[in-house]
Amino acid sequence: MPMPQTALEMRGISKSFAGNTVLTDVTLSAAAGQVLALLGENGAGKSTLMKILAGVHQPDAGEIVIDGQVVKLQSPVDSLHYGVAMIYQELSLAPHLTVAENIFLGREPVSSLGIINQRALNERAANLLTEYGFKLDPRARVSQLSTAKRQLVEITRAIVEAKKVVVMDEPTSSLTSHEVEDLFRLIRDLKARGLAVIYISHRLEELDEIADQVTILRDGRAVYSGQWGSISTDEVIRHMAGRELKEIFPPRNAKIGDVKLRVSNLSRPPKFDNISFQAHAGEVVGIAGLAGAGRTELVEAIYGTQPATDGEINVLGHSVHQAVPHHSVANGLSLLTEDRKRTGLCLNLSLATNLTLANVKALLKGGLLQAKSETTAATDYISKLHIRPPSPTKTVGRMSGGNQQKVLLGRWLFAQTKVFLLDEPTRGVDVAARAEIYREINELAEAGAAIVMVSSDLPELLGMADRILVMRRGHLVAELNAKQTSQEEVLKYAAVED
């Protein structure tokens, strides 16, 4: 086998923002026809490094070499010009345009009069989508697509543009396992076409399937580069975290008690229909299902942010037909949202403000906010959840994803709720923060809380839940004992039609 050619080299890249050093002397090299896994915890500098490659930021030091030529990437246009395409984690599509229009945005086929040929546009998009195996209607408006489908549009668009290097930043975070398979087939196809793929992910399991090389960042430095598979998963995690992670899923010693949450015949067709289940004190109930199965809609209906149309919810003895968030919280039920930036955090406010937001009452004395109680509360949960940086006044928008998630979890701990609905509690969260969130969930269960956990991460559900409820197309199709089931069995119920 001939030595693969180096398609891209980033040499000695350093970058700081307003005195904050984000990258220090990072060197990375991606070979044509290979997948380079770029790993690191949140805040390790991956996104900044890739934004430098995209031309969004300029490095303070270092150089970028594409095909043996030193290049200056001053803007995203430059970087596209050199054949570098990005798939961002944060979706960047025009919601009011169609799938086809988004794929060819800026490169529409036009007639000699400058008029866009809509038919050619849709045909070309349809051909591409079929080629990649994505089941998408080119005429569908992006605003009406699910997050997962939008991700596919984003991927298609980037690949059309890519000539040398494709960067994928957590492309699978919202995809179903089928779509992930399609994506991996596509990545193999890109490799065969001689492109270099830089693949950022927190899911180590999936890298076994596609990664050739790996570069690991920690605190803005490249701490390891080498062949994928030449070091063990444990070593990878150690490089990322800088310490040994004994157990990802710590054991739990909780006694299952009374029913804390009872959901009866809850419906909001077509999202979900006739759902009944219970959660007991000390129990973690997992909810599995593919994207679009109605899991998020179900927990939002239980909490009240998207009320149900029919059915009944009983929280610690309080029965309601339509939940309302402030009543839910008062009754002792909370929802950790799946989208912490959109529905979770007040990004420009402080850690302490965000953490105490659902229980401001506890900070009042004679109707007045007590700054001291607020700082005490924040400091307590900072040390309990190992939130970094440990500063109550830190603006939450400037913290890493894992720490933001801990702040949100801390909010509900501080609100002293007894039933926790956790929607994708570890999405986009680094390995070390995950372990801490798992530990905290176990502590809650051991203290007698009932926990309902929606997750697309099957190993996580199998590792954490006592029971797993499987949803498919808005229906509850199975209830499995987590100790006796397998990923395959859960997937079978989640994906296969009767």
Binding site: L345, C346, N348, L369, R398
Partner: protein, 316 residues
């Protein structure tokens, strides 16, 4: 570092502005002139205090100028040709505040129930309130108000102008509301991320209505002072005040997109505009040109705010 610059920029601007005006025109520093700056800015400042709450919570109210006129005229209608008793004056002031509260309540309910952007709702209200003021007065000023009513604007208490005292009291109350109470905390949370506030179990609509009501009530009070200043209920008064009120908040570091703003900042913003206009008068610059300057300052302040935000997002 940018945070620090942002926090102190309005203050530094105010000092610089005062220095420049004082050097060019030493009369600026005379006690009489400074007192008149304070008097001239009170009406705008009182409304700007309420506007700070509304804008911090992510809203905006363009109808304040019209509501000021409507409230002032209603108060004047109650007081006209009724003699000079304290009871009548108090009743008139109470009517001004009540009309203001009602206007704020209607704005708040419309914004939260109709789910129409506050910019549009209050743009409509701007026309409606002005129209009502003109209809009930038939377009004429309401005269023959109690003689002592004028003291609300021109009187002094222990040597301090009455409107200045009112401003100080209101600024203290609003500052206290924003920094040390549950509604104040929710105000910032709602403005920062309304969905996150809802998901945290905050009754968002109820608080939004409260903030519009507070602004409405303060606008009614400002209407009473304006009417006292003119000793006439003038249905065309307060035209264009919304521009100055919003400018005061924005110059003081309040954000048009919510989640940011302080009473101290707004006070400084309001003073900057007062000094600008007073300086221009002293130097004989046309009031027409002042409007151009104020408009430019608003755009500059918002641009600066946006610039800061973009830097923040990139750094993130």
């Amino acid at each position: 570092m940018p945070d620090l610059i942002k926090r102190f920029l309005p203050f530094i601007s105010l000092i610089l502005l005062c220095l420049i005006v004082a050097v060019v025109e030493p009369r600026f520093l005379s006690p009489g002139n400074l007192a008149s700056v304070a008097r001239q800015t009170t009406v705008i400042t009182i409304m700007a205090m309420g506007m700070t709450m509304v804008m911090v919570s992510g809203g905006i109210d363009l109808s304040v100028g019209s509501l000021l006129a409507l409230a002032g005229c209603c108060g004047a209608l109650v007081m006209t040709n009724k003699g000079n008793s304290l009871g009548i004056i108090l009743a008139g002031i109470a009517v001004c505040i009540a009309v203001g509260l009602a206007g704020g309540l209607i704005n708040g309910i419309a914004v939260t129930r109709l789910k129409i952007p506050p910019f549009i709702v209050t743009l409509g209200a701007l026309g409606i309130y002005r129209g009502i003021a003109l209809v009930i007065t038939d377009g004429n000023g309401i005269v023959n108000l109690p003689e002592n009513f004028g003291k609300l604007a021109e009187g002094t208490l222990i040597g301090i102008p009455v409107p200045l005292l009112i401003v100080v009291v209101i600024a203290l109350i609003v500052h206290f509301l924003l920094t040390s109470t549950q509604p104040g905390r929710y105000c910032y949370a709602i403005g920062s991320n309304v969905e996150a506030a809802r998901y945290a179990g905050i009754r968002v609509s109820r608080y939004q209505i409260l903030f519009y009501c507070i602004l409405g009530g303060l606008t009614g009070l400002a209407g009473a002072i304006e009417t006292a200043r003119l000793v006439t209920g003038v249905p065309t008064s307060g035209e264009g005040y919304e521009l100055n009120v919003i400018a005061a908040v924005v110059i003081g570091g309040g954000s048009l997109s919510g989640g940011q703003g302080t009473v101290v900042g707004t006070l400084i913003g309001s003073l900057i505009m007062g000094v600008l206009s007073n300086g221009a008068n002293l130097l004989g610059i046309s009031p027409f040109i002042q409007k151009i300057v104020i408009g430019t300052v608003i755009v500059l302040a918002v641009t600066f705010d946006e610039f800061q935000r973009r830097k923040f997002e990139i750094a993130e």
